[in-house]
Symmetry: C2
Subunit: 412 residues, 2 copies
Amino acid sequence: MKKNSFKIISGGSITSPAGFRSSGICAGLKKSGKPDMALISSEVPAKASAAFTSCLFAAAPVVYDKEIISRGKPVSAVIINSGNANACTGRKGLANTRMMAKTTASLLGIKSGSVLVSSTGRIGVQMPMEKIGNGIRKAVSALSTKGGHAAAAAIMTTDTRPKEIAVSIVISGKKVTIAGMTKGAGMIAPGMNAVPHATMLAYVTTDAAIELRLLDKLLAEGTELSFNRITVDGDMSTNDTLIVMANGQSGNKTIKSGTCEAAIFREALLHVLQHLAKAIVLDGEGVTKFVTVKVLNAPTVKDATVCAKAIANSLLCKTAWFGGDPNWGRVMAAAGYSGASFNPDKASLYYEKTPVVKNGQDAGTPEKKLAGIVQRKSFTITLDLKSGIHSSEVWTNDISYEYVKINADYHT
Amino acid sequence: MKKNSFKIISGGSITSPAGFRSSGICAGLKKSGKPDMALISSEVPAKASAAFTSCLFAAAPVVYDKEIISRGKPVSAVIINSGNANACTGRKGLANTRMMAKTTASLLGIKSGSVLVSSTGRIGVQMPMEKIGNGIRKAVSALSTKGGHAAAAAIMTTDTRPKEIAVSIVISGKKVTIAGMTKGAGMIAPGMNAVPHATMLAYVTTDAAIELRLLDKLLAEGTELSFNRITVDGDMSTNDTLIVMANGQSGNKTIKSGTCEAAIFREALLHVLQHLAKAIVLDGEGVTKFVTVKVLNAPTVKDATVCAKAIANSLLCKTAWFGGDPNWGRVMAAAGYSGASFNPDKASLYYEKTPVVKNGQDAGTPEKKLAGIVQRKSFTITLDLKSGIHSSEVWTNDISYEYVKINADYHT
């Protein structure tokens, strides 16, 4: 087995990389009184890349951040709130986002154009700007090189646990650290008036010195291979955001495209992104199972991904997994209607390494044996289309009573 | 309000049109001992049109029927079984389908190429041909001009009730009858070894004389405006089938394209198809709500339909409806990620006729008033995109605990 070129940092957080401070505080946005505002600050301006929701109703902070990121200039801080999504809030919502950036910048003594903003929470309600202003002041005061864990807790909505990771690599003799935190698909609302919403927010900090164009490329590729490969309920949010900041404070020689160092950085970044993405699936609402869906030997990568996602999103497959039911007919039907191009008479299906379907027909494995596999907490389904050379992998979970309960029953 | 040109026939069934006989019998395919085989027979060869699943893993009877229908020759009978889908069964499955047609034809004294076959039930298991053969004999013996209701009951899987309708119109002084039956999205299995599967089967009989090309056109259009506009769980089946047979026994002058008679027939046929499609949604598993999703003023019909379907399929919307929660953020988010092209700042949303969102922002209606609407058993959600002149309408339902229970818990 190939050895990884990176090391996991035990108890790491987004403040593990050099030159980053962070904080997580209570601004009073959540009725529960739990932390609801986080700040990430780099001591020097950092190169920044980002990926955002493609939802037409993009929230105000997404609209604002896209504009900042598109300029390609360095970023010094990200101010994040949970409790209010600032989506479907029109011009006033955008003005409030700008005000959040301006307040943060002014307190940090930096340009407001170097501050990004993220929001998650209720849709369609204007931000309570007085609370927000006070919260930003608290967050700036609380900034610390040990503040990573507090930030990871403050971005949670109904996540059951913070999701964070840090890894280190060695580049030109220097220890380079890459860390990340994310919040995922939790939709329980804190109170009866709240409109809950699922949003993926993720932040990666690194002290690497790296070319911006390479960082952009690695983030785009990494997003596709991590967050774009997970599905909890198939609903995309108005606020989905992934931001990476690279501040160069490790002192390494700038990582350039096409080098061995780029490959090492790529592997470590991909691990961070995939770890965070899988953590979202594992912490999905009411989740009892983690399912890896692999599609092999498709005519194109797109065919493989479309096919894997159809299976991963199928409500019939998800409920069967919840029930620990091997029901392979549902898997084959989802593959068949996915729109992927392949020869159905050649397709073979495996649960872990056990044959389920051979060349489009029952492979004859006893149902009891298959049930034993899908009753595990985590398993892999592999569909070999034998119609090409391209593959794809998607991570998903089951749909339980608890999922329906959480999303239907939160108000009285 | 426009008056319909058709009349509903109280207690009507697929044997209401002249010259059709039908039966529904027990062949022993279902462990429950419930009826599981139906036969529709026309006393003279009938013009036939059909629509089938686009799933790559089309079941053997779908492959067979497509071939028969593509010839454009008349059809005299359809033999239908519930309990076994004959899907993912390879060459043997196809040979068994041909054998079913041949046996039926031989007993009826007609050509085997004039018999269509439909199957629904477990995937991946070969048909028990001895039971099937005996069943066909019973079904032929039981044929009756009063057999429509028995057929409607025999095609059910876990539907809670038969779904049938008959209407009459007058064409060139003759009473013409159009009738239909369908089975829908029921997925509870009769026993612990069964692999349940959702399949839509629908059959329309009419004694109209009509040009085949016109019948094809009206069926294609009608399918798009009925069965293709419903969604229960977004999972397409390997066996979905819609067959219409027109035997001309009413004695009307042949209905031709572009005539007033064609318009009258079209309206009645569309009513039959839409009634059956809505009946499937209403009888969906664990359903507590019937929701009509209308999208108005889109740039194209495709945009309108894609947008309406994204809302109708959204698990977050469906669980919110189950909970009687007005949660409009989920509706807007689904519209936004649907891929439909529109200006989000112009979009307005209505629950029944009550404004919810105006130009992309909260319309200010008290949440309690909105909750009162979505807590009804049936309601309409209208999204006005104000970005064009095209509209679409989709029928859907909620997702309840019961849905998850039915699809996860059927085996012990």
